[in-house]
């Protein structure tokens, strides 16, 4: 049983992504709405960093497609954006793993900012100062998310 888990373990990845999608949808009070970090992107980035053979561009694309359906945006918008971000993470995953956590957090800031910019460029939306909030909050939360997902990975031997 344990052996079986060690080989597959993909269920935990899917479960964590599902949970992050739910977190993206849970209603927040109005003044907090713009503070919501990009949970799905963060989860995808973590798994790509940790298990680059398991989670890659195609995986991110599928998750993005699902997000497009949930969010009701143009089909392929999120898919493309997530795939792009994950491609960057794949390219740099060896460096990212070596970084101390605060430096990772800064990379996360730029990655999520890039994601926001891609969305801004490809869909009709108006942004002012609160455009900067999701990347910032994502950066602040990265250490916590990183620790939680790492403990999930270690406890359940996801590989």
């Amino acid at each position: 049983m344990a052996d079986n888990r060690a080989r597959h373990g993909g269920g935990f990845i899917i479960a964590s992504i599902f949970f992050s999608i739910v977190l993206m949808l849970i209603p927040l009070p109005d003044f907090l709405r713009f503070f919501r970090p990009e949970f799905v992107a963060l989860t995808l980035i973590y798994w790509t960093m940790a298990l680059p053979r398991h989670v890659g561009v195609g995986y991110a694309w599928l998750v993005g497609l699902f997000m497009d359906l949930v969010m009701g945006g143009a089909l392929g918008l999120m898919a493309f954006s997530y795939a792009f971000i994950v491609y960057l993470v794949l390219t740099f995953h060896l460096q990212l793993r070596q970084y101390p956590i605060w430096q990772q957090a800064i990379s996360i800031f730029s990655l999520v900012l890039l994601l926001q910019m891609l969305l801004l460029l490809t869909s009709p939306r108006v942004a002012d100062w609160n455009f900067w909030l999701p990347p910032f909050v994502s950066m602040m939360l990265w250490p916590a998310i990183y620790t939680i997902l790492r403990s999930v990975r270690r406890t359940f031997h996801v590989s």
């Binding site: 949808l25 209603p27 709405r33 713009f34 919501r36 699902f66 359906l69 009701g72 918008l77 493309f80």
Partner: protein, 270 residues
């Protein structure tokens, strides 16, 4: 890359999309669950005084509304008679269906909501969505169980309106981030003032005539710009409404065929 071009410009996938988005329904249900539970709890454990106060408030409201309704009926009949004299066709009452907003938060930068009625309840694309106080938006896509409604505040949404005071036509577009709308392309000499009520003009064929859209909050005539800068506060409670009305069809009927008597409120629990 090509996929979202095809989807956004050519609408290639609308049918596949509506089938696929059934998959997303469970996620939405799960995400809405905590809020539903807390709502249920507050509803169940509300104490007696609160309920009584609420009841009293509703009763007063009801009384006021029914008084207004008496007058309205009279006015409606008069209006129909006058329109008959003019030979124009008009429909005063639209049939509506009640739907509830599913409590999930979508992308805050591109305001949309999900409602719990879909293809199975004959929702169609472009259907106008109202709440108790005004126009909220229109349906953009649906699956058999739920549908997405684009809100007035969405920057990609525009609605044709008319000033209630003098009939001036304009187009109101969303601004996205904050809860205000704007009017584009009105010249500096347009007769528009702060406090003017804007109602739907029905010109686009999507929205029924005469529902309140918003009130003008600021009017600016900036020097050196071609058009006035006007911001509008939406009449609908876009951020807080839970129950919305879907307008069924806005075909006009001839005035001479008489009044549509009962205000049908089809609510099939569905």
């Amino acid at each position: 890359m090509g996929l979202f071009f095809l989807d956004s410009r050519l609408n290639t996938f609308s049918s596949i999309r509506s089938n696929l988005s059934i998959v997303t329904y469970p996620v939405q249900v799960v995400a809405a669950l905590p809020r539903e539970i807390s709502d249920w709890l507050t509803e169940t454990f509300q104490n007696r005084t609160q309920l009584k106060a609420r009841n009293a408030e509703l009763e007063t409201n009801n009384l006021l509304n029914s008084q207004r309704l008496q007058k309205l009926e009279n006015l409606e009949r008069e209006n129909m008679r006058l329109r008959e004299l003019l030979g124009s066709s008009f429909r005063l009452r639209d049939r509506v269906k009640v739907a509830e907003i599913v409590t999930v938060d979508l992308d805050p930068f591109s305001p949309q909501v999900v409602i719990d009625k879909g293809e199975r309840d004959d929702v169609f694309t472009g259907q106008a969505v109202l709440d108790a106080t005004g126009v909220m938006g229109q349906v953009v896509s649906m699956n058999p169980l739920s549908s997405h409604v684009i809100l007035l505040t969405n920057p990609s949404h525009a609605i044709p309106v008319q000033l209630n005071r003098n009939g001036l036509r304009a187009i109101v577009t969303g601004r996205g981030v904050n809860e205000l709308l704007q009017i584009d392309f009105l010249p500096h000499n347009a007769d528009i003032r702060v406090g003017d009520l804007l109602v739907t003009s029905g010109l686009g064929g999507v929205f029924p005539v005469g529902y309140p859209v918003g009130t003008v909050t600021t009017v600016g005539f900036p020097q050196g710009k071609a058009f006035a800068e006007i911001s509008v506060k939406p009449a609908a409670q876009i951020a807080t409404s839970r129950d919305v009305l879907l307008v069924l069809n806005s075909n006009t009927v001839n005035a001479s065929s008489g009044l549509i008597t009962s205000d049908e409120n089809i609510n099939d629990g569905g």
